[in-house]
């Protein structure tokens, strides 16, 4: 399958994530949209890794080109997990105080 399809798919997922972050008002849903953005990146990295590997494999079949992108994906997963831990804790802390996760309530700092 050509690489273009993967690029289009992950750009679509990424755009859905961005639009969600910009339009939704629920903190949890915004958070899910950010995760969607990160997963779009993961998909794209794996696709590119395969593409570069295939090109290098044709020349030298012991080549390791492309492995670093897949390792990068694992790092993104780990960091995303750490972000989830902190982010959900912040949302729970907010929920305890205002009993809502709607970010429209967050206007106390605007003067």
């Amino acid at each position: 399958m050509p690489i273009n399809y993967y690029i289009f798919l992950s750009i679509c997922l990424f755009s859905i994530g961005i639009i969600g972050v910009l339009t939704r008002r629920n903190a949890i849903i915004i958070f899910m949209c950010i995760e969607l953005m990160l997963n779009a990146v993961n998909l794209l990295l794996v696709a590119f890794s395969r593409m570069h590997h295939a090109a290098a494999y044709a020349v030298d079949n012991a080549s390791l080109v492309g492995a670093e992108a897949q390792i990068f994906v694992f790092f993104i997963m780990v960091v995303a997990a750490a972000e989830v831990t902190v982010g959900l804790a912040i949302i729970v802390m907010l929920y305890r105080n205002i009993h809502s996760v709607d970010i429209n309530f967050l206007n106390r700092l605007k003067h």
Partner: protein, 457 residues
């Protein structure tokens, strides 16, 4: 390079120090000891050119002299921060040991950023810096403002991380490597994938350094977080983001300088105008300093625009001058209950030493000669002039610096020419006074001998 490991280990040690020591004073002393060890190790690496423990990172991390001097400046700022604001960190949370541990984890991330040569390390470093900061921003758990600041910072921070990752993925697709050296091959031809990646990374780095039009989260987050941590965010973390920005655009995209420099010039101009004009209208000193940090970010963006030797040297001087001055003002601000400008009324009468130190810090931020801020701004402008063709940017920057004098001098006027309304004078620890004075002297020494830093690289 060893600073990465030592600060991570020391963070774990700080975490358990709450069990070992009952008194907060000992915890503070332990943290100062930690920073001193980090300074010693980094200085050894700088002086001898070899880390104590050489680790093979396959070229992903390389601490050049530039990076090491940057790390030293950051560590000295952290030392000043711990000495000045140690008491306030204890007041900010139930157990100060956790907060110190988080700060040491941030330092570990900073050490990664100081030497990254691969986009993987850039991403890891920036995330290690950001994630503990979200916690610090929300450390005042029952205060709604702090909650709000933490949530906004978190959402904006992870959103910009998403943008950066997409940029990295697109560039990887084009280049086939994460190493910064690999980008410069191909004679700087900007392919569509590279261009899209470059723009996404530029947007996300502008988010991190709060450059306009991506600055809107900054005033709210800085205002809402506990003042001690605002001071850390506005100085040390901002410098780190700028260092990452500079390294990436110097080593990674330096060959494509002509293609992106116009966009950076526009961002710089917007940041300077918006930061300075909005700061004029602020009534609270804390919020004014938040906008002033945007305005100073505009000045630091000049270095990103110009990327040359003057820009790099001036950037280090700017980090030092800006961090020392802002840390000093915030340390005093944190001790005040009221953050409005009126709270500074009559400070010169009741606390002459503190008022003098704050005066010098404010003068340095405004860029008055004989302070570090003057030469920092001078080098930024010199770098842009050497780059040529962009005189309008220089003139705009000078005009904006003139505007900034107005809002900094409002605080000076309140301290020296207005009488205090309240009867109860603020009380300060004598040690605190002397450290503040030392900080001010450091600013003046750097203003007279900027070559102390400039000659290091």
């Amino acid at each position: 390079m060893n600073a990465i490991i030592i600060s991570a280990v020391w963070g774990v040690l700080m975490m358990y120090s709450g069990f070992l020591f009952k008194s907060n004073r000992n915890i503070n002393l332990l943290s100062i000891l930690g920073v001193l060890i980090l300074i010693g190790v980094t200085f050894h690496e700088f002086a001898s050119g070899m880390p104590l423990l050489l680790i093979d990172t396959k070229g992903m991390l390389f601490h050049s002299n530039f990076g090491l001097v940057f790390l030293l400046i950051i560590l000295v700022s952290t030392l000043i921060y711990f000495i000045l604001s140690g008491k306030d960190i204890q007041l900010a949370g139930k157990s100060s040991s956790d907060l110190y541990a988080l700060i040491f984890f941030i330092l570990s991330g900073i050490a990664v950023v100081a030497g990254f040569r691969s986009l993987l390390m850039l991403f890891i470093g920036i995330e290690i810096v950001s994630i503990p900061l979200y916690v610090l921003a929300g450390s005042d758990k029952s205060n709604l403002k702090s909650n709000e600041a933490a949530l906004k910072y978190f959402l904006m921070g992870s959103f910009s991380t998403g943008l950066m990752l997409m940029g990295i993925a697109l560039i990887y697709g084009d280049v086939g490597s994460f190493y910064l050296d690999a980008f410069s091959t191909g004679f700087g031809v900007l392919t569509p994938l590279k261009a899209a990646g470059l723009l996404l990374i530029l947007a996300s780095m502008s988010f991190k350094v709060s450059a306009a039009p991506f600055h809107f989260w900054t005033p709210d987050v800085y205002d809402g977080s506990p003042s001690v941590f605002t001071s850390f965010m506005a100085t040390i973390v901002k410098s780190v983001a700028f260092f990452a920005f500079l390294t990436l655009f110097d080593f990674g995209f330096g060959k494509m300088h002509d293609q992106w420099k116009t966009i950076v010039a526009i961002i710089t101009a917007f940041t300077l105008i918006i930061g300075n004009i909005t700061a004029v209208f602020q009534q609270s000193v804390k919020r004014m300093l938040a906008y002033s940090s945007i305005a100073q970010a505009g000045f630091m963006m000049l270095a990103i625009f110009a990327i040359n030797t003057f820009a790099k040297q001036g950037m280090l001087l700017y980090f030092a001058g800006y961090s020392f001055a802002t840390l000093g003002i915030f340390a005093v601000l944190t001790k005040m209950k009221d953050h409005s400008i009126d709270a500074f009324n009559g400070l010169a009468k009741s606390q002459p030493i503190i008022a003098l130190s704050v005066l010098i810090s404010l003068l340095s931020l405004a860029g008055i000669p004989l302070t570090a801020g003057f030469f920092a701004k001078y080098y930024m402008l010199l770098a842009v002039i050497r780059e040529g063709n962009m005189m309008w940017l220089v003139i705009l920057a000078v005009l904006c610096a003139a505007v900034s004098v107005y809002y900094y001098f409002r605080v000076i006027q309140a301290m020296y020419f207005k009488a205090s309304a309240s009867e109860t004078a603020l009380e300060f620890d004598p040690n605190f006074k002397w450290v503040m004075l030392m900080n001010a002297i450091l600013i003046i020494v750097l203003g007279i001998h900027p070559d102390l830093i400039l000659n290091l690289i």
